[in-house]
Symmetry: C2
Subunit: 187 residues, 2 copies
DNA sequence: TTCTTTTTTTGACTTTTGTCAAACAATCCA
DNA sequence: TGGATTGTTTGACAAAAGTCAAAAAAAGAA
């Protein structure tokens, strides 16, 4: 199990702790278009993506669908604020492809914290990684032109470019779809 | 002491804990232009701003000074990743005005965690608030025009508008200074 | 205060990005 | 398979935003 291996590598868990961790996460097959999370609901699950692709999005004042994040294999699938604070989420998360994840619900996570205290640290580290990603994204939106943002995105997420509808990438980068189409043509 | 009152309001600390908390933070006068934090250094302090104003910034590839955040009275002055993980910071933090803050260093903070466990929660909550702010900022950069960003900024931070150089606001909003000057003229 | 330096504004112009609508292409199911 | 639907590209144009340079204004320092 990929997740356990990752954990093993960075956090020194005993065999028992590893066992408990492995059992806490249940495999789940998520068909494309399934909502992992819905706006207004409290997040009850965290997932670890084995295979597939997800995106988070919300609707702006003009009912435009705005993508805020893409979730790739090997990363944590979470509506962070909602899960951590158990408050209603502002965004949706939906599977873009048939996906396979490992899930744990909030209650089980609290249980896991008790059994394997290291999970508090793991959670903290994941949260910090997400914060960092967001900081980088914010700086890119602040300082780069549309073309530069797209080029950087292609570099950093070649897989996503291949597999995701252009309009989602456009909204994620804050670029009009027609403009992005033209930018792409030039490259 | 403002900080203690805030804490008192939201977290139920015993008198002893309040005492310990109050003693852990030392008042400090920070003259304008003083660096609270420097790029490349590990953050050793967290501050709580009583009076004054700070900004964080970094230099981009073209040596442009890019403002990433303004810190107002009543908020926490921190280079979050650097302080939390004790790794070198990527940004500078500098006082824009003569300021008064309450500071605590890393070691004392660890000590405070032991004496007053509630501080772990306080820290977590502050971190989450910062994450939220960043999320909002990111969405604004992604979805709003330069004019809309400026208008929203004026609404949300009327104090900052009055007191900070326009070029810092321009870089914070990701707008050219000449463009922002024109936007402002129209309003 | 006066001189210097820094910051902001402005003009003339260019480039980037967005808008609208239509054509085209791809995808989805029934 | 074949409409129907959804997504992408394109053209013609408009609006937004950036660039460069100079002037004006403001802030700092001696």
């Amino acid at each position: 199990m990929n997740l356990v291996e990752k954990i093993k590598k960075f956090y020194k868990l005993t065999e028992k702790e590893l066992e408990a961790s492995a059992h806490a996460f249940k495999p789940a097959a998520i068909p494309a278009k399934t909502y992992f999370m819905e706006e207004g609901k409290v997040a009850n699950h965290v997932g670890f993506i084995e295979r597939g692709l997800f995106r988070s999005f919300f609707y702006d004042d003009n009912a435009n669908d705005i993508t805020t994040h893409f979730f790739q294999p090997g990363t944590v699938l979470i509506s962070m604020k909602s899960f951590n604070d158990q408050v209603p989420a502002r965004e949706n998360i939906v599977a873009l492809e048939d996906s396979e994840i490992y899930v744990i619900n909030h209650e089980e996570m609290m249980e896991l914290y008790k059994r394997v205290p290291a999970w508090r640290q793991i959670t903290k580290d994941v949260d910090e990684m997400k914060y960092n990603d967001l900081m980088n994204r914010s700086i890119q939106l602040q300082t780069l032109t549309a073309k530069e943002r797209y080029e950087l995105f292609c570099q950093n997420y070649p897989e996503i470019i291949k597999r995701v509808a252009l309009r989602h990438i456009a909204s994620y980068l804050g670029i009009d779809i027609a403009t992005l189409s033209r930018i792409r043509k030039k490259l």
